[in-house]
Symmetry: C2
């Protein structure tokens, strides 16, 4: 047994150790690799994984700077020991995102985090060229979270083959698929020949690269572990295969700081799974991810019980054709957890009502959610000559709402503390969204007010403050992305507006 010093890794960086080991039999099911990582402030036990070709790997994300030692053992080969140094985090590394104060998020280093995410279900299973386009689009729009699936997707506009499969084997002949018959194959296993005891390391290795590319540009990877848009049998595997897959996913991806776990997309459409199954996956995540990344489960129709302890935040899909983002504060009360509006319909023009709202309406939903202290999620579904829809494939952005993401983000980052909340309702607020910083104890004492008028078009609004208070008045056009400084005002004052929709007024108290 030799003792290696593996140099340095950043705090919340990823240390990866790899060792040659057994390759006979089935290392995926037969062999183990487990490590203990010990620094001054933590001891972490975690599983490694078999990466094919006789190579075993184990990864570790340190939460503190300082000197660490490790011991790695298992059936894979001889026990290994070593040490390494954890340096302070680099300037763009704030650690993983945590729930900070009940309803809000911060990075581990305390920096406030306002998720403004998008959804591209299988962007990472497209061509290299399209993947690069997606990464550029994400940066251009300043999205800081993206939801995507580990497993390939079969659905309308998604009939092609993925670049790889998570298991060894061969898929059904997809040449039989048409826009009219694809639903008949959904959830079926016929014609597929996958070995659910042998994972395909290349599939996961590629996804890791994508997670790291996202990390580099400051984007959280909200990984959807299971989903119902399946024709390969991955949505209806037996418990042993599910467990092998989940453990492999957790062992490979947990040490990346930008990972979030979404147990499922539309869990309620996975007809082969029961609540007991979801609770089992929940227990795997809490037990096998030593870093306690954020965990959620996303519904189609029936909301999962988000009070379950393994769930860190609500990941919500539109519950009503007409109002969803507007319900944010009700869900906060009901579940006591951050509300991430991961699907409030997509901007676009496809035939389905979930995928054809306007950019204005999408942006309006963003603001309605954000001012209530919720976290809106973007998506796009525009018809495309090659069926490249952002919602699944990524690529180019074609809509209008993505252009307004950065503007909203800057408004949010300017809020004192790490979140907004609805001010206690007073009569004159019934017809606007009146937000104050979450850290304020009451609207009356708050030195910051943000009023949003949504689709309404007031020509002016009136305010009443004590005569001895002075307020900086700004008129925000959330659609045209302008902030108009209207100077300082006191007592009772009137703010002229344009009579256009999507306006907001921001008031900041001038220190007296």
């Amino acid at each position: 047994m030799e003792m290696n010093h593996h140099g340095t890794v950043e705090r919340w960086g990823c240390l990866e150790l790899s060792f040659p080991g057994k390759k006979d039999g089935n290392p995926f099911t037969d062999d183990t690799i487990r490590g203990i990582f010990t620094g001054e402030h933590e001891t972490v036990e975690t599983d490694g994984f078999y990466d094919g070709d006789g190579v075993y790997r184990i990864r570790f994300m340190p939460s503190y700077p300082g000197e660490y030692r490790y011991t790695v053992s298992g059936t894979f080969g001889e026990t290994r020991e070593g040490s390494f140094t954890v340096t302070e985090a680099g300037p763009d590394n704030h650690g993983p995102v945590r729930v900070q104060n009940a309803l809000y998020f911060s990075y581990a280093d305390g920096t406030p985090f306002y998720p403004v995410g998008t959804t591209c279900y299988v962007w990472e299973l497209q061509t290299d060229e399209l993947i690069e386009k997606t990464l550029r689009s994400l940066q251009k729009a300043r999205f800081n979270k993206i939801r995507f699936c580990i497993l390939p997707k079969h659905y309308d506009y998604n009939l092609g083959e993925p670049r790889s499969y998570p298991f060894e084997g061969t898929p059904m002949d997809s040449s039989v698929l048409t826009k009219d018959n694809f639903l008949q194959y959904t959830g079926k296993t016929e014609g597929n020949h996958f070995d659910f005891t042998r994972l395909n390391p290349a599939h996961f290795r590629h996804i890791e690269n994508c997670i790291l590319r996202l990390q580099k540009i400051g984007v959280e990877a909200d990984l959807i572990v299971m989903h119902p848009y399946d024709r390969w049998g991955f949505s209806s595997m037996p418990r042993e295969a599910d467990e092998l897959y989940w453990k492999y996913v957790l062992a490979r991806f947990s040490a990346y700081r930008n990972v979030w776990w979404a147990a499922a997309n539309e869990y309620d459409l996975l007809s082969a799974k029961t609540v007991e199954d979801w609770e089992f996956y929940g227990s795997l995540m809490t037990r096998l991810d030593p870093y306690h990344h954020l965990r959620s489960i996303h519904q189609c129709m029936k909301m999962y019980d988000h009070t379950r302890p393994w769930i860190t935040h609500c990941s919500i899909q539109r519950q009503d054709l007409y109002r969803t983002a507007e319900n944010t504060d009700e869900w906060q009360k009901e579940y006591g957890k951050p509300v991430v509006l991961d699907e409030i319909a997509y901007e676009g023009n496809i035939q389905h009502g979930w995928g054809n709202i306007s950019g204005e309406e999408m942006t309006r939903r963003f603001w309605e959610g954000a001012l209530r202290g919720g976290y809106p999620g973007h998506g796009e579904t525009f018809l495309h000559p090659e069926d490249i829809l952002w919602w699944s494939h990524g690529g180019e952005l074609h809509g209008e709402s993505w252009k307004r993401v950065g503007f909203l983000l800057d408004i949010l980052l300017n809020v004192p503390g790490n979140g907004l909340k609805i001010a206690e309702k007073v009569m004159q607020d019934w017809d606007c969204v009146h937000a104050i910083p979450a850290v304020e104890s009451s609207a009356e004492r708050s030195g910051y007010h943000l009023y949003y008028y949504s689709f309404m078009r007031p020509s002016f609004r009136e305010f009443r403050f004590p005569e001895d208070e002075t307020w900086q008045v700004e008129v925000i056009d959330t659609w045209n992305m302008t902030i108009d400084n209207r100077g300082v005002r006191s007592g009772k004052f009137r703010v002229e507006l344009t009579g256009e929709p999507y306006m907001a007024i921001r008031l900041k108290k001038v220190p007296g």
Copy 2:
């Protein structure tokens, strides 16, 4: 006693008899006049009223053609008897509007009636010139119902004096009123000197003229008997004064076929009144209006119990900033009565959220309500240099939604039967409003379908019908008011749309 033959009156016309009588003392409180009108198919007892200057009048609306006799008696003077002939109704006279089949309206002669109304609270208390303008605007827009108040209105943009008062006396000095202090005077009585035992016949005579002018252009007069926007004490009179006023209103106006009774606007803001009071007014209406005109009561926040037997239909104000018209079918289920959406916000640009939605949003709410078998109500509140806002004063229409009223009305009048209803929900309908005629037993058997896509913007929609059925396909642009005939189709077919919002598709089965 002499017997007079008073010539002829139309079925559902108004026979008015007038007699000289006592003028000493206080005829309003001390004297009575009551008539019995008898034809072959009905006997109606009803009160008359004192019209000032020693003149007493009594009115009667016959419901059947034929020969009638009457006896009029009371303390006013000697008993009078006579006869008259009721002829068939003229071509534009369909009688009063009735609830026909639980949720729908028809005129008494069976002609379907789809109320598409507007609100001009005190249009009739403005100058003659403005009144004429309002009547022209109503016709131009094809509104067929208007809500307005019998009592004058005190509110923001409504600080002027009315042309007359319902009682004898003098009002407070209104020169003290400003936009900032008017609320302090709301509901107060100080400074007013009205004699609540002496009505002002001229006030009511003028309103009658307005009711008749509306009748001539086919507009129902939805009379708001009480309301809270008051600085004269009319909203907080003692029970005896209320009763005198209500009885006078019922005696004067009941015989006009186009009258509807709205017991109150925003009853829940009349702080001096209790549910017992409203139930009392309800009993007066059922007892003293022999023709049983439609009766409703309109809320601000808290819905009245519309299951009460005296209420014929729900008169509903917006219950939520975001969805109201979309709740129509829920209220139909809850109350089992027609749902008239008498205030779903106003198109305009004033500071209040109830008065600043766009023409597009107003029109969208119209369609959302109408396709569910509800009856949308229009209103306008645009800032005006002389504070002439349609919502209160009538006058000119300045918005965009009124231009779309006639188009919707024509679509509705083309529906088989007298109403639409939501089709039983099937999966492919979750994202549209799918209406069928109320007379159809099921969507599957219906020969008429109307699909409305609201703010959604599908580029196409697909339909599946049996191969042996042929359907006439029309694409309706509800905003641009076009109906595009797309020919006949069978079996499974696709209808191309523009990707613009506010589209509808109408399918009519071609007889095979």
